[in-house]
């Protein structure tokens, strides 16, 4: 049994860690690339949302590499995500691939049974440890990413943060025990701390909000965060894979890490509509109140919850007086155009800030 699952940012780390500890072989899809996107869009329905296409591409590439078991999440609406697994299954079966599909949904007892089967003859304690380890590893990875976001605008040599971050990511990915992970963390932190910085700069603060998948997957958002960072902006974002996973658990649904966004969004959106809509709005509100300079809102073309968010953000923008740049992405989005738009946006924010400083005097 060779397990695979689609990429979503760094989330693959979690699955890989857990199943390796179960003693299973994991075949991660190759890093998302042009080929992934082409393959995915060739076989997907034309108007499906971008994440479906890219993850389908991931699965095809993993199957080509010999994976024979696919693990997918399948929530139940209201958005399209919950139906991904069914649809991709239909498409892959029509392409004559042979594999077994395992889906995890909100039916917890059922999930446990499925996991138990995957866990070979491991006992409950070992299963729990595997999950704890996977989660910790993912958390460590995210800590590094956060740190990279903070220091990138100060870097003296352009690209040095990214280089260090890639190295840390490699170090962390290699570890498969708690002890090694602790060591890796220390090493990774010192690597990132070692990037030479110019602390006299005063970077713009930008919040990046939007649909989970496109925010988390750098290839798909054309590395918006790195680009903004290298233009001298400090990036914050409300969307993190660990938070996403925690809020999928029934108890934390309401009380989990996303509660503050939900509360902040309440005056603008009275009803949860699915997807990241409420986090996009809540995040924007909190960042605006926190004195950020601007917001970049990322959404795949035709993304339902984010269209709702976009409508509502037009009001938030006026009321809280914060510039918002909406980037709608699809498989044809071009690098060049995106860079121009980002540069124009950063320019605007700088001018705004200078005006404010003069006005305050």
């Amino acid at each position: 049994m060779k397990i695979t699952f689609p990429h979503m940012g760094t989330i693959g780390i979690l699955g890989e860690a857990i199943f390796k500890r179960f003693g299973r072989e994991v075949i991660l899809p190759p890093k998302t690339s042009k080929r992934t996107l082409t393959l995915g869009s060739r076989y997907s329905p034309e108007f499906a949302c971008l994440p479906l296409k890219v993850t389908l591409g991931n699965l095809i590439e993993a199957l080509e590499n010999g994976a024979d078991t696919i693990l997918m999440l399948a929530a139940s609406g209201p958005c399209r995500f919950g139906y991904y697994a069914t649809l991709q299954n239909l498409i892959l079966k029509n392409l004559d691939y042979e594999y077994e599909l395992i889906t995890l949904d909100y039916n917890m007892p059922n999930n446990l049974r499925k996991l138990k089967r995957l866990a070979k003859r491991k006992n409950c304690f070992q299963i729990g440890e595997a999950f704890r380890f996977g989660f910790l590893k993912l958390l460590t990875m995210e800590k590094m990413e956060r740190l990279a976001h903070r220091i990138r605008p100060y870097e003296i040599k352009k690209g040095s943060t990214t280089k260090a971050y890639e190295e840390t990511s490699r170090i962390i990915r290699r570890t498969f025990s708690f002890k090694k992970l602790r060591q890796a963390r220390r090493k990774a932190t010192s690597l990132l701390r070692g990037v030479s910085l110019n602390r006299t700069r005063n970077p713009l603060k930008i919040g990046v909000v939007g649909e989970t998948y496109t925010v988390l997957e750098p290839y798909v958002n054309l590395e918006v965060e790195r680009k903004l960072g290298e233009m001298g902006c400090e990036i914050h974002r409300p969307v993190w894979a660990t938070d996403y996973i925690i809020s999928m658990l029934p108890i934390f649904n309401r009380w989990g890490p996303r509660r503050k966004y939900r509360k902040a969004a309440r005056p603008y959106l009275k009803q949860e509509v699915g997807g990241e809509c409420i986090v996009s709005i809540g995040g924007t509100v909190l960042y605006a109140r926190g004195g950020f300079d601007g917001i970049v809102h990322i959404a795949p073309f035709t993304c339902l919850p984010e269209i709702v968010a976009q409508g509502i953000l037009s009001k938030v923008k006026k009321e809280l007086n914060i510039p918002i740049l909406t980037l709608v992405l699809d498989e044809h989005t071009a690098q060049a155009g995106l860079v121009t738009r980002l540069e124009a946006f950063v320019d605007l924010l700088e001018r705004r800030r200078n005006k404010k400083v003069i006005g305050d005097r």
């Binding site: 329905p45 139940s76 209201p78 009803q271 997807g275 976009q310 409508g311």
Partner: protein
């Protein structure tokens, strides 16, 4: 003077209008419905909208604008789900908030969380809706019961074989002569979201066009719920969108019924659920050699001539298939 409640002729108007209208009229309000969609109404809405979305949501903006200065309340329920186990697309749950955000000067919106069909709306949301017109919960409840009776009559009329548009006309007291049954005529099934199919602007009046070509029309509303449930059970995961379930369930049913000659799936461009479900229906239809199938993806730029050409070709295809048999 009676309080005026405005109902946009869009979205779930095509499914629930008799229910809503009876309810508000019973409580002494005057119900005003916006005019059928025209290019002009549509353009008005388009100007306001931020971003890009499906045709039906763009249309509702136009309707709301034309109603805004004529009414005291706008009735735009917050429809999260209209039956157990399924929900509506995210647009429905967010619509009242989006409308408020984009057009702050609208009359107050009655945005009630409605949950009808299976168990009836919850008592609380019914009272929420009615209390502005009559404070007495019993009166409100009675009005609702009456509304539900009217609604059931309306559903029954559709099940007997007329389209929802015509059933609404009958409800409003107009005369509708049921299309005559012609021997040897073509039987064509139309599936898709009700507000795309029955709005004559968005669907370019496809029903009349097909009838002119001599076809008898079947729609998913005519199929009993049990059959739809049974048909979708063959899928590995339940479809959790109400209209999606109806669409796919009835598509499967039509593909299996011997009297149906053709199946047309009408989809609005950029519709989220349908973009995925189309694949499932396409797949099933491809494997079916008997029923002719076509999907029409429409948006505001779809032209009449293009539509006519495609329909003509489709009818030709059916006739050829028949001749072969």
């Amino acid at each position: 003077m009676a309080i005026k409640v405005g109902i946009p002729r869009a979205l779930l108007y095509y499914r629930f209008y008799p229910l809503w209208k009876t309810f508000f009229t019973e409580l002494g309000a005057e119900v005003i419905v916006s005019e059928p969609t025209t290019q002009e109404i549509f353009k008005k809405g388009l100007k306001k909208f931020v971003g890009d979305t499906c045709l039906p949501i763009k249309m509702v903006f136009g309707h709301v604008i034309t109603l805004a200065d004529k009414v005291d309340y706008l009735f735009i329920p917050r429809l999260v789900s209209i039956e157990r186990d399924t929900c509506l697309c995210p647009h429905f749950a967010g619509l009242p908030d989006v409308l408020c955000a984009i057009m702050p000067d609208l009359p107050p919106i009655l945005d009630i969380h409605f949950n009808v069909r299976k168990k009836g709306a919850t008592m609380k949301s019914i009272y929420e809706a009615g209390k502005r017109f009559n404070k007495n919960p019993f009166k409100v409840y009675r009005a609702y019961q009456k509304a539900q009776r009217e609604y059931e009559k309306f559903l029954k009329r559709i099940k007997d074989g007329i389209t929802p548009q015509e059933a609404i006309k009958i409800f409003d007291g107009e005369e509708v002569s049921p299309p005559e049954k012609k021997k040897g005529g073509l039987n064509i099934a139309l599936i898709g979201n009700p507000y795309t199919v029955y709005d004559s602007f968005s669907s370019l009046d496809i029903i009349q066009r097909l009838r002119k070509l001599g076809a008898r029309i079947y729609t998913s509303e005519m199929i009993p719920d049990e059959i739809i449930e049974e048909k979708v059970r063959t899928l590995s995961k339940k479809i959790y969108w109400s209209f999606g379930k109806e669409t796919v369930g009835s598509a499967f049913h039509f593909l299996d019924s011997p009297e149906i000659d053709g199946l047309i799936y009408i989809i609005s461009f950029e519709c989220g659920p349908d973009s995925l479900l189309k694949e499932i229906v396409d797949d099933k239809a491809r494997k079916n050699k008997r029923v002719a199938y076509m999907s029409l993806v429409i948006d505001e730029h779809t032209g009449e001539t293009g539509m006519d050409t495609r329909l003509d070709a489709f009818i030709e295809m059916i006739k050829r298939r028949r001749a072969k048999k």
